[in-house]
Amino acid sequence: MIEVDQLSKVYANRRVVDHVSFTVSPGEIFGLLGPNGAGKTTTMGCLTGLLRPDSGRIRVAGYDVVRQRSQMVQMIGVAFELPALYPRLTVEENLRFLGALHGAGADEVKTVMTRWGLTERRRQPIHSLSKGWKQRTMLARAFLGRPRVVFLDEPTSGLDPNAVAEIHQILRSHQIEGMTLVLTTHDMTEAAQLCDRVGIMAQGHLLAIDPPAVLVGRLQDQTVQITWWNQGTLSTQALALADPCTPDTLSRLLRDGTVVEIHSTGSLNTVYRRLTGGDRT
């Protein structure tokens, strides 16, 4: 569904995206992760046709983003980090206008509003909504016009856990219908839960690309931190997974029924910090 081949982009003599290549399959949720300035937003800009790549080729939904841009934009939906909505207009007016530009009729707008739980608030002006509802309206907008690929920039940033869970559920339901989703996020939990595969970028390079579980599994020095009741007091110990004694110790403690908590240090967050150099600080 998306083919990126040797994409590069230079700003003021600085190569912000450097020969990045990856593919995204139809119906996949793909996450682009990386610290600020890693080149994610520029990559997204090139993928959505907002920026022209300096070199390399990108095909989205079968169309070249430079030479067939007008056909390509009809296949995509984009939710930006900024609300990108008209504050004086109501939820419904915003969706109708922005939907009309993507060829969505009134019926489709109604269906999308229902799906995103916006029906009750459809007559409220955007300026009177909370951040969560604005975000929801903006996300709903990206799905108007029956796009085949939807790009989401920080879709749940700053939202409460219930809203995040609800949005994840809606995004998964779109995936089940065969839509391809590409998102950027700084939330590693979100990436691990939602994405089929993630790409980690830093300084314009794509450092790793794989399913989150595979990336975590590649960590050589994973440990589990175990907390258990030890003769009336709580004890905590870190056990290296590579240590041959660890399985025996773990199963003994579990058999005794004294384990309070097991916490794995191997997470997507660890992988991210190692790859992007965050673990050195």
Binding site: Y11, L50, V78, L82, P83, Y86, L101
Partner: protein, 237 residues
């Protein structure tokens, strides 16, 4: 969606959005209101020049200021990006914005004309329409080149004052001075001269019309270059 339908969708949207904006109403009615007040304080031997200058004020107030603030608002709230990834070509979207603001400028000028109680001639309309679009174009240019709403608004206000004041002081400058002939080709003076001819019923000066069309073409060329630059390098930071 055809580009024309896209333009129509944009026009309806802008009307719905901007007619809820109180600032727009003030900017739209202010030229007529002030002109009405000034006219009722007495008559002036320079009435024709005065009417033409006030029509220019209506053009820069509505055309330039509204176009700039509309564009800056689009950029600041991120809706410009959303419009750029729609299936309507960006040139048509900007065209729709220019038509809407140009119409507002025409409404504002019509208000001034109604208060001035004529007489005027059909050729005046050409100056009003062309001038309206030239200053709308300047507004879009300011909007697209300004990094933030505050600086853009300041720049638009400064440009409005410069255009209006230059038209006011121009008749007082010595005709043989270099600045007089240099300023006579500025968009403000060219517009006022065309409209003055329309008010007097004089034949149209094709040189002046050509100059206005030239300014309009230059602005369109600059807008195309800036949009092209935005696509290659991103928004001005």
């Amino acid at each position: 969606m055809t580009p024309l339908k896209g333009m129509w969708v944009m026009e309806r949207h802008m009307a719905r959005d901007w007619l809820r904006n109180r600032t727009l109403w003030i900017m739209l009615l202010l030229p007529t209101g002030i002109f009405w007040a000034v006219l009722h304080t007495g008559t002036s031997p320079h009435r024709r020049w005065f009417v033409a200058s006030w029509l220019l004020f209506a053009q820069v107030m509505t055309g330039l200021m509204i176009a700039a603030s509309y564009w800056l608002e689009e950029r600041e709230q991120g809706t410009w990006q959303a419009l750029r990834v729609s299936s309507v070509p960006i040139g048509w979207i900007m065209g729709a914005q220019a038509v809407f603001v140009g119409l507002l400028a025409a409404v504002s000028q019509a208000g001034v004309l109604m208060v001035s109680c004529g007489p005027w001639h059909g050729s005046l309309g050409l100056g009003m329409v062309l001038g309206g679009f030239v200053f709308t174009g300047f507004g879009l240019l300011i909007g697209i080149t300004s990094p933030a709403q505050r600086t853009g608004s300041l720049l638009a206000a400064a440009a409005m004052i410069v255009f209006f004041l230059s038209a006011l002081i121009w008749p007082g400058l010595g005709e043989n001075t270099g600045i007089h002939s240099w300023l006579s080709w500025s968009p403000a003076i060219v517009t006022v001269r065309v409209m003055r001819a329309g008010l007097q019923g004089s034949p149209l000066s094709w040189t002046m019309i050509g100059a206005m069309v030239g300014w309009g073409s230059l602005i369109i060329a600059l807008l195309i270059c800036l949009l092209h630059r935005e696509y290659h390098r991103g928004l001005p930071m």
